[in-house]
Symmetry: C2
Subunit: 446 residues, 2 copies
């Protein structure tokens, strides 16, 4: 690629701080995906007193700062007593640069066995700076050139779209129905893409209580999805931040626990089950990668090489905090989150009851909502556009925040939908928030 | 781009774990830059008993694990007493997702004023997961397409080359002399690149005790470099991990402290002055960025948008550890590192004395070395190739590790040079390591 030579602009600009044009920076910076995050953060900051059904943050009321110290001490004891490390090695573990793939991989393996019935090779785990870094690493590995595209269930988590933008990877949307990703549409999108010379590398989805829709995939559909992935020669990127928060019924098996053919890359998060402030996640990538010379290794090792040039390693202190929480609860995070699970269940019931109270069936309100069996989110459909402009009115005049579904995808109907998060607001504040939302909706319907 | 349609490979592969071809993963994974890091880590792991002059790790002997707790408590007290945060806000700070640009930016600003004479706008700082993430963010912002290239002093830090590979950004090498980057060559490389239609966006360098060469730039040359950057309309990426470790004389002013025209993006690290296990670094990016609609903001805010899709935010717990260390020492890291500075000075003197002992001047040994005024590294030139094969022999048969300079650049002479790090090995172990190195060299010269 050679274009006309550029002359150095010697003397052509005034003295003073250098100025860059936004158009001279990476295209992701003007992409709606990154703009969404900024807009939603800004509106939350501008209206701090509003009741917010917007953020997907976990409930913080059970946390005490002293727990950070307790967890660190618990992990220290583990190093000394279980792992028999000497004083020098313990100090080095906390102090120094560490293993790029992380140091708590064996505890994560135990947690996956206890909570998820997944038998994982500890060497196939890369501990990451939150699940977000895990997504980036996988997409960076899979995007080799302009043919490589990602598929994602739509509506989808903005973080996967954003990570794809950072590696210039197009995201093709796959429809979601009331029971999760539409397999017929998945196949159609893959075949269409291939017919255009594109190479669909993977499909991203959240099988349990998806963000933003709250929808889950049932077990037969999970099996069918794995078969389809095999038939289409496609990886599935399974993200599971919310699966622990079941409101009724037993948890469903993850895709990874059903995956006998290495089709699933499992994206793990401790942000909701552990401690968001640790910023620790992981990726379980046990696929084999074969080099031209016939040698082979784990996909996790390739992701680790990328990580060595991105963040070097995840802070061992942050990892120790999560490890301490795991050890405190015998690696059983479902049990460790019993209070949170109960709280979210109560919040969900209160929200659903409130919605039924304000918008009774057959009242002609035109307001409907789905009833997920757990997770953090409920989607409400209203008979008018629920866009950023309405959110601004809602925040300013009614003191209630929520998230327009249009930030998560372009599917039909999303423009009249809003996402309510049930993880942060509790008790009578839920009732008050719903009163404010009902006032907004009532005023708008007229 | 449309190529021939691909058929789905339905049924064309055996059951069993999915296999990927390395050639179907991102090109960086087969790049020598990433291979270097892997090779050097592996050889260190295979010979754990060797005396290692290889790693650029800080000395860990002064660290106690209890310091982590003390630092966390110190920051907690700061939040309560100086910042007057209530109990809920303190808990939230440690527990929740936090500000993408970080929470210790004001303390970093104080540190920059105290130690570096830099007056920084706290809003122009992005706290990152080590300096490595800061490098990635800057390169991701600057690489918009195939015309954008990076310049870097050669030999250079492998981390910048690796980060450039992750965004497919070519790195053009600029020669380094005994007093740092060669300005005439810098101008030549920029003009040549522009004549080829390329767009040099920035030049990366370590003005103080560079990695790997140990070389520093004197003050008049720093001023001239800033003038040249202005004339060439180029950003300078100043990385400063080693500037605190002066062996003799006063520290030199950083480029950023001399930068009146916003030409310098300052890459900050706490890995050597703070605590490597925290994995906290930062970037000071106070350049203005102008959008098409005429509005403008800070480059730091654009980097923050990228970070929100890469790691979301740097662990507030990890940030609190660094903040606690800063607060404990009134934000003066030069004072906080008095013991380390003295230790590295002693190590350097012992290393230089040992080299003079084993390879006396005029002895015809053909072995020479440079004498940096501080930092972690000394470069030794030998009269034969000091390559990976020799390193293997050195490790296996002589029990001493070092780093072939060929991993850091392709300049003339590097193939016969090796980098010795003086940060980890102390006292009589230095003498023993040098005896082993001398035995290797003696045997090889015959």
């Amino acid at each position: 690629m050679v274009t006309a030579p550029l002359e150095p602009k010697a003397g052509s600009r005034p003295a003073g701080p250098a100025t860059l044009e936004l158009t001279d920076l990476h295209a992701s910076l003007t992409d709606p995906a990154l703009g969404s995050m900024t807009f939603l953060n800004e509106i939350a900051q501008r209206f701090p007193e509003a009741i917010s059904f917007a953020p997907g943050r976990p409930y913080e009321g059970f946390f005490e700062t002293s727990l950070v110290h307790q967890y660190l001490e618990r992990y220290e004891r583990h190093l000394r007593e279980d792992r028999r490390l000497g004083e020098d090695e313990v100090r080095r573990t906390f102090y120094q640069y560490g293993r790029t793939k992380g140091i708590v991989h064996e505890l994560i393996t135990r947690h996956l066995a206890v909570d998820e019935d997944i038998v994982a090779d500890p060497e196939a785990i890369v501990v990451t700076v939150g699940c977000q870094e895990a997504m980036f690493l996988v997409l960076r590995a899979l995007r080799t050139g302009p043919r490589d595209v990602l598929l994602a269930v739509s509506p989808t988590y903005v973080g996967i779209t954003g990570a794809a933008r950072l590696v210039d990877m197009p995201v093709l949307e796959v429809r979601e129905g009331p029971h999760g990703i539409d397999p017929a549409h998945l196949e159609e999108v893959v075949l269409d893409a291939r017919a255009q010379g594109l190479r669909p590398r993977a499909c991203y989805l959240i099988p349990d209580f998806s963000n933003p829709s709250g929808v889950s995939i049932d077990v037969p559909a999970r099996q069918a999805l794995l078969d389809l992935a095999e038939r289409l020669d496609l990886l599935l990127l399974e993200d599971n931040p919310y699966g622990y928060f079941t409101a009724d019924g037993a948890p469903l098996p993850t895709l990874k626990s059903l995956d006998t053919r290495g089709r699933v890359v499992y994206l793990g998060s401790f942000a909701k089950t552990g401690l968001p402030g640790a910023r620790v996640g992981y990726v379980l990538a046990d696929q084999r990668v074969t080099a031209a010379d016939g040698t082979s290794g784990l996909l996790a090792d390739e992701l680790s090489k990328l990580k060595s040039m991105l963040t070097v390693n995840t802070s061992p202190i942050a990892q120790a905090v999560i490890a301490g929480k795991l050890l405190t609860h015998d690696c059983a995070l479902r049990e460790a989150n019993a209070r949170e699970i109960a709280l979210y269940r109560d919040n969900r019931e209160r929200l659903l009851a409130g919605l039924a109270h304000h918008f009774p069936q057959d009242s002609g309100s035109g307001v409907t909502w789905n009833v997920p069996h757990g997770g953090f989110f409920i989607v409400v459909t209203v008979p008018f556009p629920a866009d950023d402009a309405l959110l601004e009115v809602s925040a300013r005049e009614h003191g209630v925040l929520w998230t327009p579904m249009s930030h998560f995808g372009t599917g039909p109907g999303t423009e009249c939908q809003l996402r309510l998060s049930l993880s942060s607001v509790t008790g009578p504040r839920i009732d008050e928030g719903l009163r404010r939302l009902a006032a907004l909706i009532g005023r708008h319907r007229l």
